[in-house]
Amino acid sequence: MKAFIVTLLCLCATQAFSQEYKNYDWAEKPTLHELSEEEANESSIAILEKYMVEYMVPKFGNNIKKFETNHTIARVHDEKGIKTHNTVYISMYNVIDIVDIKARTITPDGKVTLLNKDNIKEVKNVEEYGDFKIFAIEGAVKDSEIEVLYTLEKEYSAFGRETLQKSYPIKKLEYDFIIGDLPGRVKAYNAKGEFTSKTYTNSKGKQLTLKNIVPMLEEEYATYDSNKTYIAFQCFGPETNVTDSMLWNNVVTNITDGLFPEKVNPEIAKIIESILKDQKSDDFTKAYLIDDYVKKNYTIVKNNNEQLSDIDYIIKNKSASDLGIIKVYSHLLKAANVVYMPVITADVYEHRFDAEFFNPAALREFLIYIPTTSNYILPNRIDYRLSEVPPTILGNQGIFVNDKLQYSFYKISQKDPEYSRVVRNLNISFEDDMEYVKINQEQEYYGHWAMNNRAFLNLAPDQSIKEYEDYLTGSGIEDKVIKKYEITHKDMTQLEYNKPFLVHSTITSESLLEEAGDSYIFQLGKVIGTQSELYQETERVNPIQMQYPNRYNYEIIVTIPDGYEVEGLESLIIKKELLDEEGNQKCKFESNYKLEGNKLTIIIEEFYKEFEYDITEYEGFRKVINAASDFNKAAILMNPKE
């Protein structure tokens, strides 16, 4: 990320006043706040979350100063609430000076306990997050208010991003973005309110006030984290005129340094022949072999070693940063004469890329696009090989750069809508005088399904591989005995485009056959495995995002035993669909049957042509998803013939 930090000179020393945080403090004599009955039932609730970000030019010197103040008052009602608020972590990333950190607890009987500052501990270099100051809140009991207020002076950086929605409700939120006359802007995302101009004691800026922010619901088929309320801001040096296109150009110049080499590195030139195995023409095969080679020989390392982006060091040590690894691909692809475009974007489940508001914190994923095959390489995904883009990226926007260093923004999509699908053929019989059910099943997995299965079986720990066998032989049959389980095309390296992953299995189960007097109930629906059920007790918050377009085609053949006749087949007929404005099916579940002699054949077709659906389509989408779950409940009755 360091490569993106745009350093802009701040040239002047104009007028400047004292900082706004000096005019802000907590109440001298705190008292507990009034809460409604509903609010009092929460484990905890923030009464106030206040953020103040201030950029200013000091009287002396010409460096922009940046101060951040954070003030929280939270009421805690039970142990869970106390645990949410009684440990405080303050990031020291870019901090020059701790102006002040203070905290206090106000108990229901009005007793105030002030944090003993000697108990603030320092933790250095935490994972990838830098240093922290941490402390535990003192004196908090049930129904107390915990108040934390701190101000940090930070190194100047032009950008910032802050998620405002938390795991607890917030009664009132204030965000002050104070920049005086400095050029800058701030934007609120997924917020029920907007920034408005405000004049402060010594400066001016913008303020966002939000009331009653509820926690984000973790809904299924949703990118709920990236749909949370957050803000992003930019602030530049006085009298500069920085535009987003300048910023994007800057990024392109910075990151593409080394991504379009003029000459292939001699080490790479030496080995390219052995990697390509005589493949000369087909770009897919060449790029695939290169991807496979890198993933079997290089390691991506996350630490502060700056050499990890130096191509000579990378090639020698076969270790690279997440940006450095792109350089290796660049040299290899150039050597193989394959056209490629670096792409920068974000995980769509974490952040929605915004081309109109440059924000380096959101540029975390580096991809390589191969335009001739419309496929992507994901260097940091050892579980992937050149293919359609995986669900973590699909649907996000990205910046694509070509070898002339021109850039464009595109929505990252899937080329082949039929890429991911599952075909199943089941043969079912009843054995041993109706003691148990025998299921012979052949499955073909394509696209992401196949990729995912292969990755799991090759890379996961033994225990997980064992559990995966249950999934691949039909989940949700509690007493299942696996008699046969064969996997074909398991290897990660599959040069043929979208080669299916095959499973051939035989299982037996007693529990699928229930008894009712002399009759038997066969839980036929359960053979398709547990199906997700979408509940909607509360109003849907998030639009729908499926992992990827999908299709399932099943054929189930049941041999009805001699001496029995079947009833209740109507539960096998289901049809639910969601249509677009022209009446085309966007997604569908349909099942039907035919009975010929003692052979019952059930055909199921289910597909989702789109992966995104508007929130207004939720009910229709839910009906299709739940139709599969309905089928899962289908049972047929087998009566002895009279």
């Binding site: 535990a136 009991v141 049930k142 040590n317 720990p461 225990q463 007097g517 509940y535 009833e567 209740g568």
Partner: protein, 631 residues
């Protein structure tokens, strides 16, 4: 649970799991060619200098698991890491490449708020199929009570493992092997002029990988624990850790350092609570409940401070503490009101050791309070917020407690297993059949550990899911279309003896109506039906957290105009330590199903797998039986 000291010196066992003690599997991706630990103890004028020299050589048999190249070495205020040398050798080219960048980091841990543990991180360069990595480093141990343990086996197969310890002749070493029954460990003694040398060598140890519902890795992983027993100086024997007495006197010396100032406030709280009650039991119970409701668990691990409880006055003021802080606060409060109570060290069920086997801090990882009321010893755990007074925390059952009676007197006592009748779920359900759907109202009353488990899941597993979704995934009643309404949960604190959960259910696509017949299965709760053990694959016994009983009474109201044409026969099964019974009765226009299920053991051993499966199969068979009603 933070007072003890068990390090994972090389790798965190993050891929913990199964062990076959056979030859190394050729389908492996990665194995250790050699893992050697060389411990050298020097002693001069009572000052110890202990250095472990560690050497590990590993080979990548495929390119599948290159992430093993990311190495993490842990250290804390009792250890220093020195002279780290790491290289990758590539047989295909004959090249050796050195690690040239090592970063020191901290990690945040969910369970421990602050820890002094740090890590040295680096990545072996250029690993690929065929690469051989070589790691050498020294670990300097500054505290002679922590000699640690050595694992003969680990998460990857080991071709050769060697532990060697060299120590002066005036010093005695104690050791004990664990789980080495199925591997061959060669033990050798040598001596030099001034030193004794012990060496343990083993070859071809299979990898360990864990299983669900199994005991912790240390129950199965072949390993050895070493400890310094004592040394002689000027004709006198100076004890270190030769027996439990030594361990206890060291613990007692640390406990002496507890800050006992300013206790007046703590005393007043204890006295104010106690004066409302007559019996010692009630007083102790009320004090325990006060601590549970007023002190929040926050864990710190900070050098020896990780072993010395914070003063009761400070814990009481701050309103937070870890296990030892809460244990000490209870100790102070209870003694103040005349109830004899003792600081108590204990290992949770994750630790397989007895104090006499290895009198070291490896045995325990937790601290509680023991109190004696009417000659009964009661174990009190301040960290288990929802357990009722009188019951130990579930995860300390069966474990040996080291109870400190006075600075030089202790006793060892086992925490008793709590009988199944103390942890009950009583479930009453009324089911009606209307318009093709099933409606039900249900009340569940939990006691003991059944209550603790429900509360813990309800508070922490639920996360941001709704109550409905939580119940749907945890109870899984009927099918996954079941709707839960009017959910009510009674207060959860430890002072309440029972917890009542009630809700209404609407279950669609459940009853099957064909013609005039409706077929309905009254077993909407199919507890334990997924618990069959895969005998062919399972390697370790199945751990059960606590003994319990479930009692169901399910009343089906026969709808107007219907008669019952088929009702299942009663079924009963009494296995070795588990069983069930189900019976049906038609009475006053209702069908009443009575069902009890009990588990009376904390572990299903391998030899009992068949018997367990028989139990589960019979239970599933019983669950399969439906009633039929006809118009």
């Amino acid at each position: 649970m933070t007072i003890s000291y068990l390090k994972f010196p090389v790798f965190l066992l993050f891929f913990a799991a199964s062990f076959c003690f056979a030859q190394i599997d050729t389908s492996e991706d990665f194995h250790f060619l050699e893992r050697t630990e060389n411990i050298k103890i020097n002693l001069k004028k009572g000052e110890f200098n202990i250095v472990k020299s560690i050497h590990e050589k590993a080979e990548y048999l495929t390119a599948n698991k290159l992430y093993f190249a990311n190495e993490t070495l842990r250290f804390d205020s009792f250890t220093k890491l020195e002279d780290i040398e790491a290289t990758t050798y590539l047989p295909s080219t004959g090249k050796t490449i050195k690690v040239d960048y090592i970063e020191t980091k901290h990690e945040f841990d969910d369970g421990i708020f602050y820890s002094d543990q740090q890590t040295k991180n680096f990545t072996f360069p250029a690993v690929t199929k065929g690469a051989i990595t070589d790691l050498k480093y020294k670990e300097v141990i500054t505290e002679p009570h922590f000699l640690g343990l050595f694992r003969f086996g680990t998460y990857a197969p080991t071709k050769k493992a060697v532990l060697r310890i060299e120590f002066p002749k005036n010093l005695q070493i104690g050791y004990k092997e664990f789980n080495t029954e199925n591997i061959t460990v060669n033990f050798n003694k040598e001596e030099t002029k001034n030193s004794n040398i012990y060496t343990w060598t083993t070859e071809n140890v299979a990898k360990y990988s864990g299983e669900d519902d199994a005991e912790a890795a240390l129950y199965y992983l072949p390993h050895i624990i070493l400890h310094i027993k004592n040394y002689e100086e000027k004709g006198k024997t100076i004890p270190v850790l030769s027996n439990v007495t030594d361990l206890y006197s060291w613990y007692a010396s640390l406990a002496k350092q507890v800050d006992e100032n300013d206790l007046q406030k703590v005393y007043k709280i204890a006295e104010d609570i106690a004066k409302k009650y007559d019996s010692d039991f009630e007083k102790a119970e009320a004090i325990y409940n006060w601590v549970q409701e007023n002190i929040t668990y926050v864990a710190f691990e900070d050098g020896l401070g990780g072993f010395i409880p914070r003063g009761a006055a400070s814990v009481c003021n701050n309103r937070y503490g870890d296990c030892k802080d809460m244990a000490n606060l209870l100790y102070v409060m209870l003694n103040r009101v005349g109830i004899p109570s003792f600081r108590t060290w204990i290992g949770t069920r994750d630790r397989p050791y007895l104090y006499d086997e290895v009198p070291t801090p490896m045995v325990d990882n937790h601290m509680i309070t023991a109190t004696v009321i009417d000659k009964d010893t009661i174990f009190i755990d301040g960290t288990d917020s929802y357990v009722n007074f009188g019951m130990p925390s579930s995860f300390t059952q069966t474990k040996e407690a080291l109870i400190g009676i006075s600075p030089d007197k202790f006793i060892l006592k086992k925490v008793p297993v709590q009988p199944s009748e103390k942890s009950k779920a009583i479930i009453n359900t009324t089911i009606t059949f209307e318009d093709g759907s099933i409606k039900a109202s249900e009340e569940r009353v939990f006691t003991g550990y059944e209550k603790v488990d429900f509360v813990t899941d309800y508070l922490y597993k639920k996360q941001d899911n709704s109550d409905e979704e939580f119940l749907n995934t945890t109870l899984a009643l009927g099918n996954n279309k079941t709707k839960y309404q009017n959910i009510k949960v009674s207060p959860i604190e430890s002072k309440h003896k029972t917890l009542t959960l009630s809700f209404d259910l609407l279950i669609e696509s459940y009853a099957k109506t064909i013609g005039s017949k409706t077929i309905l299965n009254l077993n909407i709760d199919r507890t334990l039906s997924k618990e069959k053990i895969d005998i062919a694959k399972r390697k370790y016994g199945k751990k059960i957290d606590h003994k319990f009983e479930k009692e169901y009474t399910t009343t089906f109201v026969i709808p107007e105009g219907y008669k019952v044409t088929s009702m299942p026969k009663p079924i009963k099964y009494d296995g070795k330590a588990y069983g069930f019974s189900i019976s049906y009765e038609e009475k006053d226009g209702k069908i009443i199903q009575s069902k009890t299920i009990y588990i009376n053991t904390l572990r299903i051993d391998k030899e009992d797998f068949e018997s367990w499966n028989t139990f589960v199969k019979k239970l599933i068979k019983a669950y399969k039986k439906s009633i039929i009603i006809e118009k």
